[in-house]
Subunit: 190 residues, 2 copies
């Protein structure tokens, strides 16, 4: 199953078997059950998680107790509280599982160690972070300038198949629209 | 004036005079006048811009012709269309100047060359991109879960002094709130 991590890394840099074994030794295999928390608000965030299978979400709660979804993570995505992970501070987000999930977890210390020891991995993480930054910028643009229909279409394009795996109420929360607006949009689909 | 770039880099890595001269030789000094476009939607994006002085904004136009502000960039910020810059595709954003602005521009080719030649610079850009990613995640959180007052307070914290330099209509556009809501918020300030 760790082959998935190798394929993911090799989209950017090529590794020998030996190099991949070394990379993999910096990760810890972690399984979580549906509904289980991976990170709870207020926790120190030890790890960034590469998703092998399953589905997770990160989310925050506002002052009124309303949940807002930041990210869905399926196979080949990474999930954590990036700020708390990189600054080694307490989480302002929650991460939990919508399905039983298998992950490879890496600590900040091990991530930095890999970057120092292996130039290829520093390049890999720089490229992945750039891709994450670009995706975030697009999410910002979608939030400030897309209407509900455009946001919904962007979600479908970004996460193909997600709509079949996630309750509609969570999709609406991710999009920042009401459940009713979402129903209207989904019923318009061919 | 290039000292500002050196200070900015040296917040993360230390450079000798010789190393900094080498870094600087990869940048081009570019001045822009108030209202001048740095990037126009549809252009290929050649450069990422480090701001020495002045004030720029990046923004997009929706189907109805309404402008939405993605970023303000003052001294020591970087501005471009990140997706178009990194993928060498046509811009979906505009970047223009709210004040006369002085910048140091770097092409993707030169940025990658610096990263390959100087390990310190690869580390620097990895760390800067991580910080940009975290800032974007916070912007996303503020858009999906903050009310107008909280967004306004977050803007004040993120860009101290900006409110004195930017028309209120642009602040409202950045926050995704109406001009009237913003007036209500600013009049409540002590």
């Amino acid at each position: 199953m760790s082959e998935k991590l190798r394929q993911h890394i090799e989209e950017i840099v090529t590794l020998t078997d030996e190099e991949f074994e070394h990379v993999l030794s910096h990760f810890t295999y972690r399984e979580f059950l549906k509904n289980q928390y991976v990170i709870q608000e207020g926790d120190y965030v030890r790890n960034d998680y590469f998703v092998l299978s399953g589905l997770l979400k990160s989310w925050s709660i506002d002052d009124k107790g309303k949940a807002h979804i930041v990210l869905f993570a399926t196979e080949n995505w990474w999930i954590s509280d990036p700020q708390a992970f990189h600054n080694q501070t307490k989480s302002t987000l929650n991460v939990d599982c919508l399905e039983d999930s298998k992950t490879l977890a890496i600590s900040l210390e091990n991530r930095e160690k890999l970057c120092t020891e292996m130039r290829k991995m520093e390049y890999f993480f720089r490229r992945k972070t750039t891709a994450g930054y670009i995706a975030s910028q697009n999410r910002i643009l979608s939030l400030i300038s897309f209407n509900a229909k455009e946001r919904y279409e962007y979600l479908q394009q970004q996460y193909p198949g997600l709509l079949q795996r996630v309750p509609k109420s969570l999709i609406a929360s991710y999009l920042g629209i009401t459940r009713e607006t979402l129903s209207r949009l989904t019923s318009q689909q061919p």
